[in-house]
Amino acid sequence: MSDQAATPRRLHPATLIGRSLQIVPQMLGGGAAYAAVIAREGWGRVLLFAALAGLIGLGTALLAWWRFRYTVGAGEIVIESGVLRRQRRIIPYDRVQDIAIERRLLARLFGTAKVKIETGGSAADEGSLDMIALADAHALRDLIRHGSAGPAPAAGAEPVLFEMKLGRLLHSGLFNFSLLFLAAIFAVLQYLDQFGLIDLWEWFTPERAGAAAGIVGLRATLMVIGLLVLLGVVAGVARTVARDFGFRLSRSEAGLRRRRGLITLSEVVIPIRRAQVALIESSLPARWFGWYRLSFQTLGADRREGGVQVAAPFARLEELLPILAEAGFPAPPPPDRFAHLSRRALLRRVGPYLLAGAAAALAALLIEPRAGYAAGGLLVLALLALQRWRSHAYALDERALFVAGGLVKRRLWTIPFERAQTISVSRGPVQHPLRLANLLLDTAGASLMRMPEIVDLDGADAEVLADRLLGLFYDARARTAISL
């Protein structure tokens, strides 16, 4: 096996097609644009430049393919790449955390796959073989996982934790209403505008919009809106089906194995040891019907997904509990176990809106009646802030801190104590005189945008809680150290 396996190999020739499909259109377009800019000498010259650029793109792809070699050794894989600046990367098998196999449409047409080897380092693309034959991909995965290229263990043998049948999939698509296609159309228009082919701002003038509204009337406008909504629903269903088709989560040796995809098939293992935080979330319409989504924040995960891996996109709460248990996370405690924020927090959260609203109401009475609209709007904002205050809560059990919050999208974070990196209590200039404070249990791989921070706790409670969490952190660490 060793001398056969140790010969350097190249990627599947289909890679060339894939690369060319990526590079050549760019080069063609670039060359054509360049020609059009430097000399307005008619289409002959433009086509010549485009062809030249296309050839250069093709040549680059060929060279890159020629200079990329990988060697599957007995204990490590060596990847050599680079046309001018050579890079040689050695990945020992025992450092490999996981291997993800992804198959885009092209890969499926040629029976190939993209293999991503992750080692838990910080580099986004640590070892990527794009693309090799599917059989080779499976053999490589088995070799790294079991130390032998034996027959792949049937995926069906792994216990399935969560699955989405077609009915559930379509159902979930209905809640993924998306107007993204509108944005896409607009992006294309803007692109054309940039190249001077059309002039957007000439099209969309207020006069034209007014004239159009006058011509088409109310009924037609409503019809257009209805059509847009329908298109949004269709787009949402299509997107969901393309992404989550055949969704299956199973328990594998190293973690939770997730397969999904209609056109692009992907297979990922969420390593349990690296799962830091569990997040259960649900947006408003789906929550009314009792649907939730579970994901795990992992360390050094795929950057594109922002360190968050979806484990179940659309499920009932009771379906999530076995997955949580399998991943070693405690189930969330019942709602009555959650502690809510103090009433003093309302002063900061709702108070400003009420004050401004009262001022606007006064202005409406005395000076300008139209200020009444502002007062109404501020009252609505105050009510929303009140609702947000009510939904924000936290709880502790023996193993984790739970933080809940959110208005339209409710989130529930589960942070096992031993996952804490730092604990901090902070007070802003308004919070300080109100004796309020924020508490954050910082974890690895969190998103800066959405953090499970408890905002506007009673200041003294926050201090006590911080020290208590520190103690619980040490206890949990001692426990895991013993169990290892």
């Binding site: 730092t422 902070s426 660490r477």
Partner: protein, 164 residues
Amino acid sequence: MEGNDPAAERVMTPLHPNQLKVLRVRTAIAMLFPLVLAVGLDLGPLRETALPLGLVAGAAALLALAATLVLPARRYRAWGYAEAGDELHVSHGLLVRVRTIVPFGRVQHIDVAQGPVERRYGVATLILHTAGTRGAAVPLPGLAQPDAERMRDRIRAKIRQGLA
């Protein structure tokens, strides 16, 4: 579970007195920029207006002086740290007051950094790096340089102990 003493009784150590001088120099340097701007305004666009010459620049100079006299001392007093058994507590911030707890077991690596002003006054900044997100780097400035290095070595020894 009640292994750690409550926060209220924890005594925070103030920074080295020289850090106050560092903060003063830094604030003075930071104040130069608006001062130059004000002088430029006075000599330039405001020259032809009815405002007496030097009014804006004078006001800016007064403000800068006041800020340099008042802010550094307050900022200095806001800083404090406590090295407990297995963790470091750092508190700081004038507008937003923050207390951060860093368990030594979570420290990935430690830096001792020293800028030009800090070098002049013999103080240094100890920076604890964790794998966290917002708290990925916890700085503790204003330690006498030998103290900072001793602290770094002490923490390093504790991390090693924890790993063994």
